[in-house]
């Protein structure tokens, strides 16, 4: 057993001896949006994994439940996200083994993730992700974000990547306390649609996840309807022949 576990632990075969290592992202996910609503937190992301400018993988689930009380959504390098899920799996497992009736809530998980991200950043070996952590515990809703350099904060609505620039202005204008689930989904879809129009890495295949005191529900992937009925689209160079 020793030989095997040693081999697995020490999988870092190649040791360049360099202390400065910055990794480059290869397979990446684009924006994640999260917001609080009346019963809990709602989060959405598309299911795409891009390889540079190629939209290579189209069924990557980027939102996962963590323990009983949290949802984690990630953008950035997918392999690092998968590694973070392994760390959290271990964290939740150890928490369950205490068997003391208590369980880690979203605030705790968020703090753990912040520490992990910040520590890796200090070693010049970051986990190339922007994480959205949302959840409900004992009636308290929580929504926070951690970036790859350890910057972390809480808010009523958060977004990663392009979502910061395109979705959050919409949310700042239209989000209010105690949205119903239907209202929240509508608002979410409004943001997702803008991202679909304007983010080149976005694909039309979204998952919307919600977490309440009762538990987690992650929807099956679905597509949004886009609007192309502008008359100018029919013959755009009518007024200026030769232009585009």
């Amino acid at each position: 057993m020793e030989l095997q576990t040693l081999a697995m632990k020490d999988a870092t075969i190649v040791d360049d001896g360099t202390t400065e290592r910055t990794s480059y992202p290869y397979v990446t996910g684009t924006s994640v949006i999260g917001m609080k609503y009346k019963e809990g937190v709602i989060m959405a992301a598309d299911t795409g994994g891009s390889y540079g400018s190629t939209l290579r993988y189209k069924s990557v689930e980027r939102i996962k439940p963590i323990g009983k009380h949290s949802l984690l959504g990630a953008s950035g390098e997918i392999s690092d996200f998968q590694e973070i899920l392994r760390y959290l799996d271990e964290l939740i497992l150890y928490d369950n083994m205490w068997d003391d009736g208590n369980s880690l809530g979203p605030k705790e998980v968020h703090n753990y993730l912040t520490r992990v991200m910040y520590n890796r950043r200090n070693k010049f070996d970051p986990l190339w992700n922007s994480l959205v952590l949302g959840g409900v515990k004992n009636g308290q809703k929580y929504l926070g974000m951690v970036s790859m350099n350890g910057t972390h904060f809480e808010d009523n609505h958060v977004a990663t990547g392009f979502g910061n620039h395109l979705a959050r202005p919409i949310l700042r204008a239209e989000w209010h306390e105690d949205l119903s689930f239907e209202e929240a989904v509508k608002l979410m879809e409004k943001c997702l649609l803008v991202l679909l129009y304007r983010d080149r890495s976005a694909i039309n295949k979204f998952q919307v996840a919600k977490i309440t005191e009762e538990g987690v529900t992650i929807s099956q992937p679905y597509a949004l309807k886009t609007y192309w009925g502008f008359s100018a689209f029919q013959n755009p160079s009518k007024g200026a022949v030769g232009s585009w």
Binding site: V14, V27, G49
Partner: protein, 238 residues
């Protein structure tokens, strides 16, 4: 012209598809050192890791041969301990571990692998281990330099619940198309079919492959004969 003869031996196109009973893995057999074709026939890019789990390797040859040996070593020990061969998932995760932990090392280069096999718990499965260490369970996967050209083809042609023969034909066609449009892919198409009955290997030599280079359709065209008129060109009269 710089032939890049100091580049690592690199590898062409790999494909893995699931069908109703198991999986079919396929690959070309070309090895290039920069612009030189080191070998077009002998390489076998589909390597066995355990009884019914094989890996398709695309990327620097030496590194990937090492990965296969390393993972096979661990799996051999695991098989002895557990008394039964490792599952496809466990194997794929070991490959992922190696890929993820060593991404930043300079020698790695463009490394993409497909782990496919059959186990008694989940049947036939394909796992793609992409550059960087992302692991994804997929119904079909492709990788390698020649894969970008056949993304659309495979998306259209793969259907759920194909028979073994159809699946194998699909894989051969896909790799042939990739060979036609990628300079780093060529040679024979090798396939490995894995299901509950066992493992079957096939080799389709280059001259047996559908001629994808030639864009001529296989429809009957009327042969029109044109009469050649010869023109004598005499030396100009002084």
């Amino acid at each position: 012209m710089d032939l890049h003869l100091n580049a690592p031996y690199c590898m062409g196109t790999i494909v893995g598809v699931t069908y109703d009973d198991g999986v079919v893995l396929g690959a070309d057999s070309r090895m290039t050192i920069g612009m030189l074709v080191a070998n077009d026939s002998v390489s076998d890019k589909i390597t066995q890791l355990t009884d019914k789990v094989y890996i398709c390797r695309s990327g620097p040859a030496a590194v990937l041969e090492f990965v296969s040996d390393y993972v096979r070593n661990i799996l051999d020990q695991q098989t002895i301990q557990f008394g039964q061969p490792a599952t496809v998932k466990a194997t794929a995760n070991l490959v992922r571990l190696f890929s993820y932990k060593n991404t930043n090392a300079i020698q790695m280069g463009q490394m993409g692998m497909i782990v496919g096999g059959w186990d008694k718990y989940e049947g036939g499965q394909i796992f793609a281990v992409a550059q960087g260490g992302t692991i994804l369970k997929l119904p079909y996967a492709i990788d390698g330099s020649g894969s970008s050209g056949i993304e659309g083809f495979l998306d259209r042609a793969w259907k759920e619940g194909m028979s073994k023969d159809k699946a194998e034909k699909l894989v051969v066609k896909a790799v042939s198309l990739a060979i036609a449009s990628d300079a780093a892919s060529g040679g024979a198409v090798r396939t490995v079919t894995i299901n509950s009955d066992g493992v079957r290997k096939n080799c389709y030599p280059p001259d047996s492959l559908p001629l994808c280079d030639d864009k001529r359709r296989r429809t009957k065209t009327k042969k029109t004969t044109t009469t050649r008129t010869e023109r004598r060109i005499d030396a100009p009269k002084p």
